[in-house]
């Protein structure tokens, strides 16, 4: 049985110019111990569908689904109390914009220690020791000093690693990581991906990884979902996807790497669609 099972998820937003369908009938399922990668163009509904699962969309959103279960329990109509037991403990999320998701008025150390005390019932001293350990694990330099730093006193990539530390603090059973390494250079990205894969292998954590980096997909995913304009275009195990991509958008994604530029221009997906149509 899948750990998370979402069938036919649709999210519509009420906007000034009418209703806008951001997610259009998407299925997502992930098993215990599995890594599912979601890739797709910017604005295709990747973040919105996961925020729907977390119950974090604004009131202007209308969410419908045929099924929305976690570990067999229906999560679409949970009470706030039931939801709080789950979200932030068993299911955690690394948000796409790290600086925006941290509170600017508190030190990052205070914020992570608060999570550890409230969600895991640690004492102040235990929380501090564990926070230090987590900062080391995600490679934050001078961790003692950085625990005392406010978000604006840290670099973009350091804030992103604070978010990662918070999300893995409770050894979640399901981690949703939304572009977790966008602010990191490849050396630190590698360290972070290795860390996530280790948690994943050691504790059987399920991981949903939203990314636009096909290199990251190649090095982590078991299964891949490709989204385009709010719809699922293709789903395949990682090897089949790279060996034999079915959908033109997937082929375009794999060939739009800057190293494949012809002359001065980089190929865009619309260039690719025109080329395929001409063939």
């Amino acid at each position: 049985m899948a750990l998370l099972n979402i069938r036919n998820l649709t999210v519509k937003f009420a906007t000034a110019t009418g209703s806008f369908t951001a997610v259009d009938g998407i299925d997502v399922s992930v098993d215990k111990g599995e890594v599912l990668a979601i890739v797709g163009e910017s604005g295709s509904g990747k973040s919105v569908s996961m925020l729907a699962v977390m119950g974090l969309l604004p009131d202007t959103a209308t969410i419908t689904a045929d099924e929305m279960t976690y570990d067999g329990q229906d999560i679409s109509n949970m009470t706030a109390v039931q939801r709080r037991k789950l979200i932030g403990r068993e299911i955690t999320m690394i948000f796409q914009e790290p600086v925006a998701s941290l509170n600017p008025s508190f030190t990052t150390g205070f914020q992570i220690e608060e999570v550890l005390r409230l969600n895991l019932g640690m004492s102040r001293r235990e929380a501090h020791a564990r926070a230090l350990e987590l900062y080391r694990a995600v490679g934050i330099p001078e961790p003692e000093e950085k625990l005392k730093a406010y978000p604006h006193q840290m670099s973009g990539g350091q804030c992103q690693r604070v978010m990662i530390a918070m999300a893995i603090a409770s050894n979640p059973r399901l981690l949703i990581a939304d572009e977790p390494t966008t602010a990191l250079d490849v050396t630190i990205q590698k360290q972070i991906l290795d860390l996530l894969m280790k948690l994943q292998e050691d504790y059987g954590m399920a991981l949903i990884l939203i990314t636009h980096d096909m290199g990251v997909v190649a090095e982590t995913a078991d299964r891949v979902v490709v989204q385009y304009k709010g719809k699922k275009m293709e789903e395949a195990d990682v090897l089949s996807l790279f060996e034999n991509p079915q959908h033109p958008y997937t082929r375009a994604l794999l060939s739009a790497l800057p190293e494949n530029a012809t002359g001065d221009r980089l190929p865009t997906v619309s260039d690719f669609f025109t080329q395929e149509a001409a063939r």
């Binding site: 797709g40 910017s42 914009e97 973009g156 490849v186 636009h212 190649a218 090095e219 195990d237 800057p258």
Partner: protein
Amino acid sequence: MTAVVEGKAIVQDYHVPGGMFARARSVRALKGVDFRVEKGKTLAIVGESGSGKSTLARVIALIDAPTGGELRIEGKPVDIRAHRPGPDMRSKVQMVFQNPYGSLNPRQKIGNVLMEPLAINTNVPAAEQRERAEAMLAKVGLQPEHFNRYPHMFSGGQRQRIAIARALMLNPSLLVLDEPVSALDLSVQAQVLNLLADLQDEFGLTYVFVSHDLSVVRYIADEVMVISKGEAVEQGTREEVFANPTHPYTRQLFAATPVTDVAAIRTRVERRRLARAGVQ
């Protein structure tokens, strides 16, 4: 040829105020960095997270005054602590921040975000402001119906494109971009990089481009600077740096770049399958 922007021995210290238990201290984020960028060229800055890239970008874009060193724009020394830059200088030098969310006013509709620089710094009539803003939205791949939306109603990559569009509204001559395409999928990334290249060809724009993505750097850069712990450890033309990286950190960067090679994926998938079978 005079450089559009030139820095000599740029030093930046951050003062970290003390608290109840901590003593105040200062952190040297830049330890004397030199650079110059000629008109119509792109300097790419790469380096480890926390190495000082954004710190340098903010100095070059006249957002923060450096603690030491000299910054020259078009040959003239600029000291923003002594003289606040006027509207002329402000529109000439623009910056795209690493964190687009934080740089957008949550209560301002995107259309107004784009028109505001024109309203403040130019005499462009209102109707034309709107036309130009709509045209710019289209250039970064957004739609006319986005004009009246607020920043929180966009995806991460869409916000990144809004920040780029805003910086381009005043036809700057120097544009400092801090990780401007990090959240974009390859296709939209290609569209934005093509747009930047076109503007450079047409108007001779000069770019300082912070990125950790080497494939992007290889495509866009004329000159490359690698910084590590606040120091420029490697500087040269793109060809030089890519053909013959000399600093260990630069070599590490090349080595850690993920591969999308099918044979490598097959090996990894097999290893995971065996590990799973071993557990059960």
